[in-house]
């Protein structure tokens, strides 16, 4: 997967948000990463560092919250965790289901920001 281009989109998005809030410094980007998003966490971490280089986000942290896959079971009529991507079924009763409720996320859900600390002249 092309984690670097994803990382660049994240940095761009974070920068835009920072500018909208009055040119603040972003110290961390909090990302929700679904297990079915197609993006690999480790590759994203290394790509993020590269993507931040020479931008106002240089030095910021990427904080990843992994979102496990949750499916809807029509038999139990409830949301259930998915045990294996190779077998889409309810973890409780085994009914096959392909309805994914959570797990495809690739979302910047928060930013840690602070005023820029300027060194005294």
């Amino acid at each position: 997967m092309h984690e670097l281009s994803i990382a660049m989109s994240i940095v761009e998005m974070a920068q835009e948000e920072a500018e909208r809030r009055g040119d603040v410094q972003v110290t961390a980007v909090h990302l929700k990463l679904g297990a079915l998003s197609g993006v690999v966490k480790e590759a994203l971490f290394s790509s993020y560092e590269m993507a931040c280089e020479d931008t106002p986000l240089q030095g910021s942290r990427l904080v990843i919250e992994e979102v496990p896959v949750v499916v809807y079971c029509p038999s139990c009529r409830a949301q259930r965790p998915l045990n294996s991507a190779q077998l889409f079924c309810c973890a409780a009763c085994g009914t096959p289901t392909s309805e994914v409720i959570h797990g495809k996320e690739l979302e910047v859900f928060a930013l840690e920001i602070q005023e820029w600390v300027h060194n005294p002249a």
Partner: protein, 227 residues
């Protein structure tokens, strides 16, 4: 006089830009009454030959066109043009998947109202296309009998994002000792309820059933719009 870092909520999908363009395309397609089908598969699965056959046969009764994505060369577009249907090549350079904006740009100059079916052949890649909505009505995932029965288990994400699976090159099934039940079972395991067609673009086996399915879907969509 430092200030405390504070946490602010953003809640924005990283691929939001693509989703917005895809949504706009979907609305355009709906308004123009064109049924859009995208095809994803690994490289060498027979997508282009399958699409060429589809275009040639459908053209007898419907107005069809195709967009085809590749990193380089116009070879696929040239092959597909043999069907006599309008075809445009999208060369992505190094990008491993098609994005909605590329589809939008490629459609420039075509009148969607003049079409019944638009086919979009994605770059041969079973990984990256899964995240990118192109505004299509239907996403077909294609696997050939020569790729092994466990392909779906290896690429669950793309199968999960698909609406129909096509098992292609059935004319070679015997030669490679293809286990249909195993392959079908694996598809159902990663994507319960996925409709599967098995066919051979070379011999024509199974093609009629698949084309009837497409025609039915087009009628369904047109009926809803007419309501």
């Amino acid at each position: 006089m430092g200030s405390q870092p504070r946490l602010v909520e953003v809640r924005k999908n990283v691929l939001k830009q693509n989703d917005l363009v895809a949504r706009a395309l979907r609305e355009q397609f709906r308004a123009a009454g064109v049924f859009v089908v995208s095809l994803v598969s690994g490289p060498g699965s027979g997508k282009t030959m399958f699409l060429e056959k589809t275009l040639t046969l459908l053209r007898q009764s419907y107005r069809v066109a195709a967009l085809v994505g590749d990193l380089a060369t116009e070879n696929d577009a040239i092959r597909l043009a043999r069907s006599q249907a309008p075809v445009k090549q999208i060369t992505t350079g190094t990008l491993c998947h098609l994005e909605a904006a590329m589809v939008r740009n490629a459609l420039d100059g075509w009148n969607l109202n003049d079409l019944d079916f638009l086919f979009i052949e994605n770059v041969g890649n079973l990984v990256c296309p899964s995240s990118y909505d192109l505004g299509e009505n239907l996403r077909l995932v294609l696997v050939s009998v020569t790729e092994g029965e466990d392909k779906p288990l290896k690429y669950p994400t793309i199968f999960n994002s698909a609406d129909v699976a096509i098992v292609s090159k059935m004319d070679l099934a015997q030669a490679v000792e293809f286990d249909w039940h195993s392959a079908y079972g694996n598809i159902q395991a990663v994507r319960p309820g996925l409709q599967v067609f098995k066919l051979s673009a070379k011999t024509g086996e199974g093609i009629d059933e698949y084309l009837e399915f497409l025609a039915a879907r087009l009628n369904e969509v047109r009926a809803t719009v007419a309501l």
